[in-house]
């Protein structure tokens, strides 16, 4: 019944005017609508099957006592796994680590990315070359970049960072440079440095695109009216960039909340660096406690949905502009 006669509100104005027309017209419209849907269906069905079904299964398993090593105990236990998620200090620590890691990396790479985008928005010799160099960190395979930071840069004995410290101190005639053991003394900072290095180019690219879509005539008019560089940044550039900052921050958050490669490689979750994705992986593989791992996964999803709601709103506000053109 409802499918045979679509509500008037679902019709476009053109269709609404012909709605009272003979039955043949409405049937033709429905056939046309169905024909338009056909190319969409394979992608839609595939996506639902591959993304929604596993997550539904995760929700079901999260309410079960399901351990690979004790198959005889398997059964539903209600909210036990969730109680454990919220009372276990190690898991609470992982929540805190995830928040700290994500916030630090997103904020630092946004600030650095903005500054560098402002630099690269100016005209100078070799701008294309500098932009290409800036993008390189984002294009190194994440596992390779984590290995590079662990062994090549942060290693206390022969890493680049301490090597440069030795070299700089030697320039000033000192043979006792500071040689911090980055990976053991500052484990979370080590991961953050590698992620900031990797994500600053992403933020820079989005903000540079934002800067280059800024209407030049407004700036010109403001300059004619005697506005200084800071005033132009504060009242024209920054408001224009705000939505790009939001977009970069939210997309970055979505990816960095899920950061697994760098935690896995650089510290293997040791010394308080286990974030939620790594903790779930460890609960799943090392403890083989499938029920608990699933409950952790559901909690991560709820957290991500909270961020994602804001992200969707931001993307959709940028998107409205395009569809409304």
């Amino acid at each position: 019944m409802t499918t045979a006669t679509p509500a008037a509100s679902e019709l476009t104005p053109e269709q609404r005017t012909t709605y009272q027309a003979p039955q043949g017209q409405a049937a033709r419209d429905r056939r046309e609508a169905r024909r338009r849907r056909i190319p969409l269906l394979p992608a839609l069905v595939f996506t639902i099957a591959a993304t929604q079904l596993p997550f539904l299964a995760t929700i079901v398993i999260s309410f079960m006592d399901y351990r690979a090593l004790r198959p005889d105990q398997r059964g539903f236990t209600g909210f036990d796994n969730y109680v454990q998620v919220f009372t276990n200090p190690a898991i609470r620590g992982a929540v805190l680590t995830t928040i700290l890691l994500t916030a630090t990396v997103v904020i630092a790479s946004l600030v650095l990315g903005t500054a560098i985008a402002l630099l690269l928005d100016r005209k100078f010799i070799g701008r294309g070359a500098v932009r290409t160099m800036m993008i390189a960190p984002f294009l190194v395979v994440p596992v390779a970049s984590a290995l590079l930071w662990k062994h090549g840069i942060l290693n206390s004995g022969y890493g680049l960072l301490n090597g440069v410290l030795t070299w700089v101190w030697a320039l000033f005639g000192s043979d006792s440079p500071p040689q911090p053991a980055w990976l053991t003394d500052y484990p979370l900072l080590s991961i953050e440095l590698s992620l900031i290095w990797q994500w600053t180019p992403f933020m820079m690219l989005i903000l540079l695109a934002g800067l280059q879509s800024k209407p030049g005539d407004v700036v010109e008019a403001a300059r004619m009216d005697g506005a200084g560089n800071w005033q132009i940044f504060r009242y024209i550039t920054f408001p224009h960039l705000r939505r790009y900052l939001e977009l970069g921050g939210l997309l970055g958050s979505i990816y960095i909340v899920q950061a697994f490669d760098s935690v896995f490689i650089i510290t293997a979750g040791a010394l308080g660096t286990a974030n939620l994705p790594y903790t779930i992986y460890a609960t799943f593989f090392q403890q083989q406690n499938y029920g608990l791992a699933s409950a952790q996964g559901v909690v991560v999803v709820i957290g991500t949905i909270i961020i994602a709601t804001f992200a969707l709103r931001t993307v959709s506000s940028l998107f409205d502009e395009e569809t409304g053109r």
């Binding site: 595939f46 993304t51 500098v130 395979v141 390779a144 896995f264």
Partner: protein, 294 residues
């Protein structure tokens, strides 16, 4: 060829003529800004350059403090990397990335067509559904996928990974391609229709020239994401179907004497992504921001 003549495409590129028009002369500014920009660029590229240089050093020259930048170059790092059976994982990565990218194209192009050129009803809702699936962390679906693969014998099987990479990239690809197809000017299509062009003619002569560069960039980004993926590969493969990132993790606990080899491995495995990324850099940001930024 058509990218140079079509203003709709040229305007979306970083180097497009539209930007030059907006430039004001005083934005060139002081040479100090250029020097600062070069310094920052070099600082960010330094780890990559260091990795490249170290990969050509001997193990003893690689593990020195301060770094021996001027040490003689050698291919030893690459020799020992290629002596360590890297080919099966490289081939697995190539298979998983290329086949899943092709599958994504087959599914995403018609879907993007249905969401832009002849939009279905409520097409924005469908589009946002695709996007929302990207916000589900992969780790939250990992266990059922593992149990499913274990029960059906798909564990350590590259074709299962291909399917998962397809589902991982499909939503992004639909978004990107929709935004590229939306750049096809409606007036041109209407004009072609008035001239009596059929569907095939119109796709070939009006849609393809505008959309193809974007479709190529989408493919490159899907390739990069598949090539980089670690968590699924590490969980669902072990000996037969393991990919390059999984192979790289075997270097995670290497001691100092293997730094040149680690760098050589990192260079070899990053090379396809670096090449693809530099080739698509103008469209990269548009893709990674899901088409929200032009």
């Amino acid at each position: 060829m058509s990218t140079h003549t079509n203003p709709a495409v040229a305007a979306t590129s970083f180097k497009g003529p539209a930007r030059k028009k907006r430039r004001t002369p005083e934005q060139g500014g002081h040479p100090a800004w250029g020097i600062a920009a070069w310094a920052v660029g070099l600082l960010f590229a330094a780890p990559v350059l260091f990795m490249l240089l170290t990969s050509f050093h001997s193990e003893t020259d690689a593990a020195t403090n301060p770094p021996s930048v001027l040490a003689p170059l050698t291919l030893d790092g690459y020799r020992s990397f290629f002596a360590g059976q890297p080919w099966p994982p490289l081939i697995n990565s190539l298979t998983a990335s290329v086949v899943s990218t092709l599958l994504v194209l087959v599914l995403a192009v018609p879907a993007a067509y249905a969401l832009s050129i002849k939009p279905v009803q409520k097409w924005t809702d469908v589009l946002f559904f695709f996007l929302s699936t990207k916000f589900l962390p992969i780790v939250a679906g990992l266990l059922p996928l593992y149990l499913f693969a274990n029960a059906t014998g798909l564990l350590d099987n590259i074709s299962f990974l291909v399917l998962l990479y397809t589902s991982m990239n499909l939503p992004i690809a639909v978004w990107m391609m929709r935004s590229f197809l939306a750049e096809v000017p409606v007036e041109m299509m209407e004009a072609a229709q008035l001239d009596g062009a059929g569907l095939i003619t119109m796709l070939r002569s009006v849609v393809a020239p505008v959309a193809l560069p974007g479709i190529a960039a989408t493919s490159l980004i899907c390739f990069i994401f598949s090539w980089n993926e670690l968590l699924l590969a590490r969980t669902l493969t072990s000996t037969v179907a393991s990919t390059s990132p999984v192979f790289l993790t075997s270097f995670a606990t290497s001691q100092g004497l293997f730094l040149a080899q680690v760098c050589a491995a990192a260079v070899v495995i990053s090379l396809p992504v670096l090449a693809a990324g530099f080739a698509a850099q103008d469209k990269l940001v548009q893709g990674l921001s899901l088409g929200a930024v032009k």
